[in-house]
Amino acid sequence: MTTSEKPGGKISAIVRACRLISRMNQANPEVPKSDALYYQMLANYYTRLLNAREEGKFIAAHTVFFPSEILYAMDIVPMHTETTTWMMALFLGEQAEILAAGAELGLAPEICSPHRGLAGAFALGALPRPDVMLWSNLICDNTAKSGELIMELNDCPGFFLDHPFQRSEAEEKYLISELEDMISFLEEKSGQKMDWDKLSEIVAGMDRQMELFREIGELRKAVPSPFHIRGFLQLLTTDYLCPGQPEATEYLQALRDELAEMVRQGKGAVSPERFRLMTLFVPPMYLMGFLEKMSQEYGAVSVVEPLFTRWAEGRLDPSKPLASVAKKASLIPERRSMYGPLGEEALKDITTCAEQYRVDGAVYWAFMGCRHTCATIRLFKDILNEIDVPMLVIDCDIVDPTINPQEEIREKLEQFFELLEDR
């Protein structure tokens, strides 16, 4: 079960798409500067990956929420597996081909589609062959289980990073020891040494980015709220692909400044702003354009995404870089209610969010591949109901458009907006 390596055909196409969008954005004075910076950042990320082999660089494929700060500090080229799959869906529309290839491997349709698609893409030889596969159990069974098949498909070694489930001193120590073991593994396989000074710099950059994420979150509390719905995915991607990287900081600063200016001028992402929404989980990637249009049409704006953009309070310490990398895992928004026991604090945060952001309603994108998240649907609905915030649930797949047609989604959203209007 191995693949013959081909130059990353899909990666090359992603790079072309990002460059094109970036150039178009730069040429259009009405497009905010941050948009051009964002697509340039994406283009740079995938260009590094595309050229890595030719430049003799070591490539590490890794799953979501993996501390790629360590890879950057070791001059290893990261390949974020889930994001790369959804980029293929978003920019290339080739999800059918890679999902079919995943099915041919024997992966059941219940397995999260980015993971099925990723295995399929490797089986097709459409992605660069990684030198190592890195994966972890943060955030679910799919991430925990996706590594070994990819190792086999690429005939490469791998390292599994075991994230403890709860938070305690012993568990924090365990995670740090796991990171140490991973660094030893990478040093052995790549022949490259960890540059601790560089890691400290990256941690300082990540700390700055976390502050910017929080500032952006605060600005979105304004009425009207200044942030458009596709921006949500851009924030995710920024942390997933370029944590602590200067280009990510530059993008976030530009975005923060633009939003601050909009707030100062009383401008919203939609005008007039009629419905302030909480987004739970992730809307389908391939529908972002459609959702953007609906957002404008109905004056509906996503003001907060507690599962994905609400970072916990806490700072990183560059003088303790490894401990900081471990600490970041406890501060990421996803850690609050998607991993670890779902305690009172996590539930309280959902209702606090709804109140602080003056939310009119919540939309839960029930991604059928994400079991542990969907398990909270009833619970969130009940607690939001207690504070009189209605919640709409839409079944979907984040990369596969065959699950729920666009028109059906439109109908559900329209009905929900009617309900909000009546209230």
Binding site: G106, L107, K145, F160, F165, Y174, G369, R371, R378
Partner: protein, 399 residues
């Protein structure tokens, strides 16, 4: 396809009550679970009962606390899951939804506590919702590492210590090392007896079927262990005294997701396959490995080491540990074919499937992969697929 063997008389006789009276006693426990006579008697005497959700929860600690540990399972039959579906979204496995429904309907209202491990998404979310909606007085979840390194063992040991302390605090008692040693003895005896039962299944014509064995296993985590051990001793005596011999078209092994429905196995055996072993968390993964007490280790350390090193679930990394044990069982029990039954949305097992298929293929062992729901009895399409699989295995034997 109707092959010549589809009409072949296959004899997997239903049991004459007089033949194995102890099996009837186990059946009675299963038929009345969760509110069995044994559980109710324990409660009447003022005893505490704790439900556990996964084989990474160390039962011996609950037992040493003087409480009765029972495994939380769902309906052992095909059932509408209206309440389960209303609270846990449908992309959570039917095992979780089935257990939750029983909890929501008060069928586990006698429980004083619920203990889970962070073993899989289904189990941890079942625990979360149980905590929120059912509100059993005591709740505890253990962080269970996914590795076997010494550091992982140290973390798990710390979790086991914390669980013991939490339990002591809740019950207002101290659990002594002697009590733990005694519980280890009781549980190890149970494991040894189950091993004896399984040894019988290695015979060319085993005296017990796979479905009957599942009935024994089900009872093993639903009643006091001391009593179970007595009964299992009785059953082994009865089996020795009888001249039972089950011939089969093929010797099969069942692997995959949690499954404790004897009817599923019975439906396979009714077609002439004989399930001679299994790799399930309700069977070999539950009882195979004893707690090893040696001079250096405290009983708690011994328990901790056993539970993390136990016959691995698909959650553990690397998967080779699990695959190796499956291949070992297949060889020891001279298995002709493997039936993989994976509950929909049980993705830990679903991810392993392509890799396991390759490993088995390399050993010349065919695999039938079934997508099932928890509690399925193996009717309809499953029967058709099993029938075709058995025909294929027979054709291979004939050369």
């Amino acid at each position: 396809m109707v092959g010549e063997h589809s009409v072949m008389p296959v004899t997997v006789p239903r049991l004459d009550k007089a033949e194995l009276p102890t099996l009837e006693r186990f059946r009675e426990v299963n038929a009345t679970f969760p509110k069995t006579a044994e559980v109710l008697a324990h409660k009447r005497q003022g005893g505490k009962v704790f439900g556990w959700l996964c084989t990474y929860v160390p039962e011996e600690i609950i037992h040493a606390a003087g409480a009765l540990p029972v495994r939380i399972t769902g309906y052992s039959q095909e059932t509408e899951l209206e309440d389960g579906n209303a609270y846990l979204y449908i992309n959570n496995c039917s095992f979780s939804r089935s257990c939750l429904q029983m909890g929501l309907r008060g069928e586990y209202d006698f429980l004083d506590g619920v203990v889970a491990g962070s073993t899989c998404d289904g189990a941890r979310r079942l625990f979360d919702l149980w905590h929120y909606y059912i509100k059993t007085p005591f709740h505890h979840v253990l962080t269970v590492p996914r590795k076997y390194t010494e550091k992982a063992h140290a973390l798990y040991y710390q979790q086991v210590v914390q669980f013991k302390q939490h339990l002591e605090e809740f019950l207002g008692i101290q659990i002594t090392d002697d009590e733990l040693r005694h519980s280890i003895e009781v549980y190890n005896e149970s494991r040894a007896l189950l091993r004896s039962l399984y040894e019988l299944r290695k015979q060319d014509t085993p005296p017990i079927t796979g479905a009957e064995t599942m009935e024994v296993l089900d009872a093993s985590f639903r009643m006091p262990k001391e009593l179970f051990n007595q009964w299992l001793n009785d059953l082994l005596d009865e089996l020795e005294a009888q001249d039972r011999a089950h011939k089969a078209r093929a010797r099969l092994m069942v692997v995959g997701s949690v499954m404790n429905n004897p009817e599923f196995i019975r439906s396979i055996e009714a077609q002439g396959g004989l399930v001679v072993t299994d790799e399930l968390c309700t069977s070999t993964r539950y009882w195979s490995d004893p707690v090893v007490l040696d001079g250096d280790k405290s009983p708690l350390e011994a328990i901790s080491r056993r539970y993390l090193n136990n016959f691995p679930c698909a959650r553990m990394v690397p998967s080779d540990g699990r695959f190796g044990r499956i291949l070992e069982l297949a060889r020891d029990y001279r298995v002709d074919g493997v039936v993989s039954q994976i509950i929909r949305y049980c993705v830990t097992y679903a991810h392993d499937l392509p890799l396991l298929r390759d490993k088995l293929k390399a050993q010349g062992i065919p695999m039938l992969a079934l997508d099932v729901e928890y509690g399925t009895s193996g009717s309809g399409q499953i029967q058709t697929r099993v029938q075709a699989f058995l025909e294929m295995l027979e054709a291979r034997k004939k050369g």
